[in-house]
Amino acid sequence: MKRFQSTEAVIALVLLTVMVLIGLVNPAFWGVANLFSLAKANVVIGIMALGVLLIMISGGIDVSFPAISAAALYITVRTMVALDYDGVLLPFIAASVIGVLLGAFNAFIIDRFKMIPLIVTLGTASIIRGLVLGLLGTSIVNINKMPDALIEFGKQDLTTVTAQNGATVGLTAMILVYLAIALVIHVVLRHTMTGRSIYAYGDDMESARRAGVNTRRTIFFVYCTAGLLAGFAGLLHSSMIWQANPRDFIGLELDVIAAVVLGGASIFGGRGSVLGTMIGVFTLVMVKNSLILMKVDTTWQRVVVGVIIVAATAITAWRDRKKLA
């Protein structure tokens, strides 16, 4: 009984209901091609959301991760093009390192100057975007200039199915990368001291400090990991769409934060799980993708997404209020 009352179970139930409804309106939803493309759309946003989850559990919020992602992917790809380097492993390490450094910058300001994370990350996002676009330019690295190895990496499929119209659709292998990262974050959060101290810090900063949690280490761990995931996801995105655009991900922070909240994380900190976040991301991506399938006029899409965010947050607010009583 307890199991069914858990946040994850509730969201999963909502998700299933929505899936059935969409399937009834348009049976094409259950087509293999659509399901594969849904899975693909989850990967990059999902990895970013896991980073945001860590930050939200710690009681913070981050709106700079899209800027970090864009910076990491654009700096890495431009460097590869300039050096005429072709490879996969080293670039991903480079993108992740860029992410970690930028995340550490966030952590430093938040920890040293005791400023609200929202304001700090708004500022750093503006710095990062401004510097990347101002110093490196705005030109998009297209498929003909993109390093081949990266494209080949992003192209890999687990299985391919030939659809009725003759086109082959594949299930991207990147889904494995996403699942592996999710597993690691889950283990860290549930079974390590570091993970538990993030929950403790997010629940009550002062109690955590008195209980012996190294708060500075916790903040740095959270923001650096989120930066790492953002940088990694950025380059992964680039290799999956075969181009590097420094203006990518603008406005994505709202979607990702909404997905994480939808997944049951509390913006006050101390609550949230990997499974819930993954379901939240899937729900948001699915609804966005399915609005077209359901023949909703494209101009109405933003309204629908907004209503979903408000409804989801109203439900969590109601839940948190019951907890307080």
Binding site: F113, R129, L131, I267, G306, V310
Partner: protein
């Protein structure tokens, strides 16, 4: 010497006991001198300051709106969406065949319909603000998330109304609000002064202002003190919505057009300027004068940098760096 002695009390009175205002005034002055020194022949021209008085008001009003939302520890991420929605609704009204015909006739009808358009825009702002306020005060949704969601809804509705492209061709009286001159000073600048004065008086001299500060300082104590918190919070978001609509009127009047995704960068800048102006994002502290000083400082900074042919992206980066710098200064000053 004697002149200096006379000056001091006046200055003190003007700045109040708030050290952050004095600090801001110094920063603004430094930026002014720096930009004037770096662009000696361009920056100090009358034309430069005149163009600033046209561009500044719409952003300035959004900043004051953001400051009001922050007083209770909240934030309003939907102000730019409200501004666009208000301007677009008025634009749709002007497009209505009957109204368009009357507008073509000109004369008194032109003025009357413009007044109607302004009223409609303000009502849209009020309604949007009330929606935010109800979600935050009654349903207890966290302000960031509530306004993030409603921001999507408002800009989505704006998109539905226009179908995508910008609405162009507002009546000339409407455009006068954004580009005209009154007593030798830009009309939008008068609007900014009026809004700033009204909000300053509201915050300093009325129950609403005092209550908002109390709620922001200690929400629980405010409840025990008998303040009707949720009603006050509702009012503050309604005020924010109306101010956003005013900014929307100025923006559409200045550019003679309205679009669902105009001025997206204003959101970040409004947060930034409100915080720079000494507003505490955790609530309880904020002054109109501080916000105006920060606004002027950043206006000087960006107009000076534009003269040095810096790209807009670099200006964004400098704004961000400036925010982080001021956070650091504030921290170091308060920890002394």
């Amino acid at each position: 010497m004697s002149a200096k002695a006379e000056e001091k009390p006046l200055l003190r009175r003007l700045l109040g006991s708030d050290a952050s205002i004095a600090q801001l005034a110094v920063i603004t002055l430094v930026i002014f001198v720096l930009m004037a020194a770096m662009n000696p022949d361009k920056f100090l021209r009358y034309y430069n300051f005149e163009s600033i008085t046209y561009i500044m008001p719409e952003l300035g009003i959004l900043c004051i709106a953001m400051m009001v939302a922050m007083l209770t520890g909240g934030i309003d991420l939907s102000i730019v969406a409200i501004a666009n929605l208000a301007a677009i609704t008025a634009g749709v009204y002007f497009r209505h065949p009957v109204v368009a015909e009357a507008l073509d006739a000109g004369g008194l009808a032109l003025v009357l319909h413009t007044a109607m358009g302004v009223t409609i825009a303000l009502l849209v702002g009020l309604a949007a603000g009330l929606v935010n306020g109800l979600l935050i005060s009654r349903l207890r949704i966290i302000p960031i998330l509530a306004t993030l969601g409603t921001g999507q809804i408002f800009s989505g509705l704006a998109l539905v109304l226009t179908g995508g492209p910008a609405i162009v061709g507002f009546p000339e009286t409407w455009n006068w609000i954004g580009t005209g001159k009154l007593l030798g000073v830009a009309a939008p600048f008068w609007v900014l002064i009026l809004v700033a004065a009204v909000v300053a008086i509201l915050l300093r001299r009325t129950h609403l202002g005092v209550n908002l500060m109390l709620i922001g300082t200690n929400a629980r104590a405010a409840v025990f003190a008998g303040i009707r918190s949720s009603r006050m919070i509702l009012y503050s978001y309604a005020l924010t919505g109306v101010m956003a609509a005013i900014a929307g009127i100025l923006l559409s009047g200045r550019t003679n057009s309205a679009k669902a995704d105009f001025g997206a960068s204003y959101l970040l800048q409004a947060v930034l300027i409100a915080v720079l102006g000494g507003t505490n994002p955790a609530g309880g502290k904020g002054r109109v004068l501080g916000v105006l000083l920060a606004l002027v400082a950043l206006m000087f900074l960006s107009s000076g940098m534009q003269m040095m042919r810096a790209s807009n992206f670099m200006i964004d980066a400098v704004w961000g760096a400036f925010l982080v710098l001021v956070i650091a200064i504030n921290y170091l000053r308060s920890s002394k």
